[in-house]
């Protein structure tokens, strides 16, 4: 299978800045993967996300080097408005991405931009409202919604454009833990149903560890580690980067230091319970 996103030596420097925001990024993301990008503030996560739908270099000016191909299109030659049908983007700020006066119009906005016929627009609105289970919000204004609802609407508005890739840049930064969990559950259910490739930037590793296929850890504009979550979270140098390693992984390592080896690093409670029971019965 060929990658749906491929970066070759991708670097970007914002206009007027000396430092490269991202430097020599090489990565391959395959169709259907759920990829977590994490790292300390200022590590270049957001900059990388902006590249995926061409906001860099078309909206943000600066110096771009290297190649990034998204679903067969080069981001240099294709503007964001063209890439929008392939890459949906959900932002951290809840309110500023919702610009219309009702949820229905919000979802319609992108479709109207694409000049789709009215019947198709209506069909798609009904479809995404039911996928996200937010039919009851149809006529509400964005500012009447809770944070979790706002983020669902933002996702719905992206999905209506039938993208193959969904990029979410710290979507839960302003949500409480329960709403965040609901959001992550939605992501892991829609990815299979809609055959989506999802790129998720997150700090709450505890909650997402068990739903992601691949973890990319960035620091100072570069990719430091990438691989499966069990492998990445247990790599020793990850401690030096300063990201919140899931507590279950810490328990795994702590037990290891005490000569108790679980079969593999657990990513969720059920796994951990199973492994510990096995250990105890030994």
């Amino acid at each position: 299978m060929s990658p749906i996103i491929e970066a070759l030596n991708l670097s970007f420097r914002y206009a007027g800045e000396e430092r490269w925001a991202i430097k020599s990024i090489n990565l391959k993301i395959y169709p259907g993967e759920l990829v977590l990008i994490t790292g300390p503030s200022g590590c270049g996560k957001t900059t990388l996300c902006r590249c995926f739908n061409g906001l860099i270099p078309h909206f943000y000016e600066g110096e771009l080097e290297g190649i990034l191909i998204v679903d067969g299109l080069s981001i240099v030659e294709n503007k964001t408005c063209k890439l929008a049908q392939r890459v949906g983007m959900v932002f951290q700020n809840l309110e500023n991405q919702l610009i219309m006066l009702s949820v229905e119009d919000e979802i319609a906005f992108g479709l109207e931009n694409l000049n789709l016929p009215r019947d198709t627009i209506k069909e798609r609105i009904n479809e995404v409202l039911s996928i996200l289970g937010i039919e009851h919000l149809r006529y509400k204004s964005p500012y009447e919604l809770s944070g979790g609802e706002q983020q669902k609407v933002a996702i719905a508005a992206c999905l209506a454009m039938k993208p193959k890739i969904l990029v979410l840049d710290e979507p839960t930064a302003h949500l409480d833990p329960l709403s965040s969990k609901v959001l992550f559950d939605i992501l892991s259910s829609i990815r299979k149903r809609l055959n989506l490739t999802i790129i998720l930037v997150e700090h709450r590793l505890d909650m997402v560890a068990s739903i992601v296929d691949k973890v990319i850890v960035m620091d100072k504009g570069q990719i430091i580690l990438q691989g499966g979550p069990r492998e990445v979270f247990t790599t020793p140098i990850i401690k030096a980067i300063g990201i919140g390693i899931p507590k279950l992984i810490l328990l795994y390592e702590d037990l290891l230091l005490n000569n108790l080896k679980l079969d593999f690093p657990p990513l969720n409670i059920n796994e951990a319970e199973l492994l510990l029971r096995k250990l105890l019965s030994r």
Partner: protein
């Protein structure tokens, strides 16, 4: 000073509050926080946490009931005067930073409170050094990183040395290293004997820094107890729509053999070792 010894730091007496004719946000809150306590407030979005905080320095007055700070009713003192006792750090530093330099930003409150210049410069120096911001004193707050801006906002409140420090969601948008720094700041304030109240969603942050926790749910305080008792009481957490932290949750799966109030990784490990030795 006398009043500080006699009265608790914060007292809520059957406090109700509603914005215009909407449903009340606070519904009969009763609470007493003693001087020197370090307390976290947990609650889902919309539970009334921000409204609660705004009652502490009189930005909001109760629709019904009373709030006392060191025995003084917030109805009878101005916000400016109350703010000298209750320093509130708002969630988003971008909602308050405005000055040309970090130094000016941090001395803003001191000037409002009419401190003499030589004291202002002493205070500013002390606080900037304490929060690792001294090297930025001449820089514009807008050119700093998110974590540094957050610390400037905190410094601008700590500068006038209020005995009660309140923070609204200090960990939002902060990464792991910045959270560690926040923990350090809270510890420093604790040593100085300040009463600290922090509203947060970050249950792990609460685990690590706060001896006591309040749970606010639908406008009411449904628990005020030691953090360990609260975070290992899943029934209570569920009632407030909160998720239990992972380690106690895992421990609960082994409740027949593992002690009930396990909170930290090392405690879980010790429990497992104890069970296996048997």
């Amino acid at each position: 000073m006398v009043s500080k010894l006699i009265y608790p730091a914060i007292t809520f007496e059957d406090v109700w509050f509603s914005y215009s004719d909407l449903e009340p946000v606070l519904k009969g809150v009763n609470l007493c926080i003693n001087d020197g306590e370090v307390v976290a407030i947990l609650g889902e979005n919309g539970a009334g946490k921000t409204t609660f905080i705004k009652h502490l320095n009189g930005l909001l007055k109760p629709t019904q009931g009373n709030v006392y700070i060191y025995g003084e009713n917030t109805r009878s003192i101005s916000v400016a005067k109350l703010s000298r006792k209750v320093g509130v750090v708002f969630q988003n530093p971008d909602h308050q930073l405005f000055a040309e330099t970090v130094e000016d930003e941090v001395s803003f409150a001191l000037r409002n409170f009419n401190y003499p210049e030589h004291i202002i410069s002493l205070r500013v120096e002390k606080i900037l050094k304490m929060l690792d911001l001294w090297e930025y004193r001449k820089t514009s707050p807008f050119s700093l990183s998110g974590g540094e801006r957050k610390r400037v906002a905190i410094a601008s409140v700590l500068s006038y040395d209020p005995p009660i420090v309140v923070m609204d969601e200090p960990t939002v948008g902060q990464d792991y290293a910045q959270k560690q720094k926040l923990s350090e700041i809270i510890r420093l304030l604790q040593i100085q004997g300040k009463t600290i109240i922090v509203v947060t969603h970050d249950i792990e942050f609460v685990c690590e820094n706060f001896p006591k926790t309040i749970i606010l749910s639908r406008g009411n305080i449904i628990a005020y107890d030691f953090t360990r008792n609260i975070l290992t009481n899943f029934e209570l957490l569920l009632k407030a729509n909160l998720l239990p932290p992972q380690i106690p949750y895992l421990a609960s799966r082994f409740n027949s053999i593992v002690s009930k109030n396990v909170l930290y990784v090392w405690e879980m490990r010790n429990e497992l070792l104890r069970v296996m030795r048997k």
